[in-house]
Amino acid sequence: MTTKGVLIFAKNNEQFNYIKQANVAATMAKYFLDVPVSLITLETDYKDNTSDIWDKVIYLDDVEVVNGRGVIVNGKREQITWYNLDRLLAYDLSPYDETILIDGDYLIQNSVLSNVWGSVEPMLMNTASRVPSKQQEHIYEKVITDGYPSIHWFTVCYFRKCEQTEQWFTLAKEVKANNDFYSTTFGSPYSFYRNDITAAIASHVINGYTDGWIKPLPIRQINSYAPENIIDINKGSVTINTGTIPVRLKDTNVHLLNKIEIENNYDKFMELYG
């Protein structure tokens, strides 16, 4: 009998309570997928957490500070400390034979991801995305797909423990350790480190310098970028003000990059799914 579950990394910083966000993501994942959820974090961050959603909490000893990043917090651009909890340790640390790894700001609102369990594919990850108000990808993602390895959305990733997946993670760690070299070689336009780019390059290399090694998930990658904000929440739906039109994401998963919105609406999410 193989074990399966959802895994989330979270580490707080000055602006965001990532563990609080992860509580929401885990609660919704458990509600819709009905599998155990595990958290990877630091003991110092977790000690004040009051949620009992986690089936397992795995503590890291240390965490790498990668760089400052400009993000929008409550409508203002701020430079934040970005802790890279090393997503590439997911393979080593996951307590499950089959894992769905999600970001702490990824909200699951349907059970479609359950179709990945038992997959013959070693890994699944999306390479296409859209924004709520348009079928198009965000302009930044269009740039990187122009002639370079397709961006791999590490936001949601399925993997099962096997030799192929282990080799992919080993290669991805090599890409990360030599980020400047690989970023330059493959023409990444980003000046800061991004796991999505590492995933793209590792997949491209492992497949004999060809895209397509990791197949897509059964769900779409919908990215809601700041300053888009939540205007309504109901069971199975989130309505977002996109600046142009309001969009209701009903029974649809969403990556809410304006993550402060999850904290601002914490009580409502927990009331609906907790």
Partner: protein, 116 residues
């Protein structure tokens, strides 16, 4: 801008929201018509349904068919056919019901709040 033009712009905004919600619904239906079976991932569509119907009518009990990632997957014809046909009918019905609510909604607010 006169009253008539103002109304036309309101109508355009309504249509923009409606079109986007219909597109999201179409994509959601495609998600729901994706199923995992015996390790494979299948898109349930008329092509798959016709193939299974043919295998069933020709009395095949088992068969190997390609999933959407071109993995050869062994299936038991009868239970798989039942699963995909039931799923297809259910999801088409569900999508039709939602489609009707979106196209008959009289305002943006109604498009965004039906079933709440």
């Amino acid at each position: 801008m006169n009253e008539e033009t103002t109304e036309l712009f309101k109508k355009a905004n309504y249509r923009q929201v409606q079109n986007n919600q219909l597109q999201l619904l179409k994509e959601l239906k495609d998600e729901r018509l994706t199923i995992g079976y015996n390790g494979g991932m299948f898109n349930i569509n008329p092509t798959l349904l016709n193939l299974l119907d043919l295998l069933e009518r020709k009395n095949y009990k088992n068969a190997v068919i390609d999933d959407r990632n071109e993995n050869p997957i062994e299936i038991e014809v009868e239970p798989f056919m039942k699963l995909i046909l039931d799923t297809y009918v259910q999801e088409q019905n569900r999508a039709q019901a939602e489609h009707k609510k979106i196209v008959t909604a009289r305002s943006v607010e109604e498009i965004l709040t039906y079933d709440d």
